[in-house]
Amino acid sequence: MSSLYEEVSTAPASDVPVRRVTININGENRTVDVEPRLLLAHLLRQGLKMTGTHTGCDTTNCGACTVLFDGRPIKSCTMLAVQADGHAVQTVEGLATASELHPIQEGFKAEHGLQCGFCTPGMMLAAKALLEENLNPTEDEVRWALSGNLCRCTGYQNIVKAVLWAAEKMRAQAGQE
């Protein structure tokens, strides 16, 4: 491998069979022709220029490429883009609205839940999947839910605090409604 990110064209030469797929990404249907071997992480980053999803280890270990697939967290470097046909994918780009950060993003900011930021998109989506199932997690439950995501900077303390901060804010918001 000559560089960290390899170009995989989403418009391959005409003799290569492609599949037309429609994937709902952050609420918007995107239709693309993909070669079956293209990974979802590469479609997002190189094909659709959504570089918020990071590829770290590229071997299903680190969780930096985590996105939500029909609401559940998956490692997008370990799924083929064709497999997402007809499914909903949420990436870090889908967290904030035009005017407001998502409470999880606010939590990472307030509690200094990142240093270099490389693992952060995956951490936030894994956290979102947890909070959608359990808005009142214990510290242990947060650590458990994030145990598939590696961070080499923070020592995890502030990431856990950030998720607990977000949970509290989201509980408060839910209480107001």
Partner: protein
């Protein structure tokens, strides 16, 4: 990294999938959860001409108990489905204990029980539970279905008894005679690592007596080890300090560990004895409490 080129097929029925595998004549590979296969494709340890993706065959995503207590786990049942299942927690504690220890939480949303058994990694968690529970695999091929006992299913590391045109559509765990009790412990250096050593224990108990026992060891040999002598020492006996110590000793003797960066052979043998004894003591004390 990205895989080499392949033809991609996404059948909607098992029969269609079998026909595609048959047509692939040994050059086609089945894709379920993909949590082992996709990394292997990327590393080019595998470069099949065709991938047959069964994720569209939704009816394969199930786990259910027959009225007689037989557990059936479909080919698309994800690790997470078993981890979260109340009925598994109540009725099949060995599987319930192992589910949260497979890989990491994100891999568990996608990876499948049956796929993991078919991957036949000697360090895989589910192979140990399948052996301890005396499970079998239902394979469907062009000529119909057959059942393969777990002890005959894995032929060697990453090799199974499946023919190239057969699909493992279901894992079957026989109904217990009496009450199923058991557990699974794995020593790993960090979440998601392969086991330094792991132990699965599954007992069928009537009153005080063990009427059937299975003990399997992972990570301590080139295959998942069936510690059948250790299990046999428990059958017909109540769990006591003496029977537990005997089973732990025999299980350690059955292990075939190698010294490596995860620990010395002696250390791993010691862990096996400790885990067998810990699991049996847990079962014993929870029975006393009940």
């Amino acid at each position: 990294m990205y895989p080499s080129r392949f033809q991609y097929e996404s059948p909607k029925t098992v029969a269609e999938a079998v026909a595609l595998l048959d047509q692939g004549a040994g050059e086609a590979k089945l894709l379920a959860g993909g949590q082992s296969l996709v990394p292997m494709l990327k590393l080019r340890f595998a470069s099949p001409a065709m991938l047959v993706d069964i994720n569209g065959i939704e009816e394969l995503r199930y786990h259910r108990f027959d009225s007689d207590g037989t557990l059936r786990i479909g080919a698309l049942c994800r690790h997470e489905d078993l981890e979260k299942s109340d009925i598994i927690r109540q009725k099949q504690p060995t599987i319930s204990a192992a589910a949260p220890l497979v890989a990491d939480p994100i891999v568990r949303t996608r990876g499948t029980f049956v796929g993991s058994v078919c991957h036949a990694d000697p360090q895989g968690d589910w192979a140990a539970t399948m052996i301890a529970l005396n499970g079998r695999i239902v394979a469907q091929g062009p000529k119909g279905r057959r059942e393969i006992a777990m002890k005959d299913f894995v032929l060697g590391p990453f090799q199974t008894a499946l023919e190239h045109n057969e699909i493992a559509i279901e894992a079957v765990i026989p109904a217990p005679q009496g009450v199923a009790v058991g557990g699974y412990i794995k020593l790993e250096r960090r979440v998601g690592d392969f086991a330094t050593a792991s132990v699965a224990v599954a007992l069928d108990v009537v009153g005080d007596k063990v009427v059937r026992a299975g003990i399997a060891l992972g990570g301590v040999g080139s295959r998942t080890i069936d510690a059948s002598d250790a299990a046999a020492a428990l059958v017909g006996q109540p769990l006591t300090d003496a029977t537990i110590a005997k089973a732990a000793e025999l299980a350690a003797a059955a292990a075939e560990p190698r010294s490596d960066h995860r620990g010395s052979a002696d250390y791993k043998r010691h862990i096996v004895a400790t885990f067998v004894s810990r699991l049996l003591n847990q079962i014993h004390s929870s029975k006393e409490a009940a």
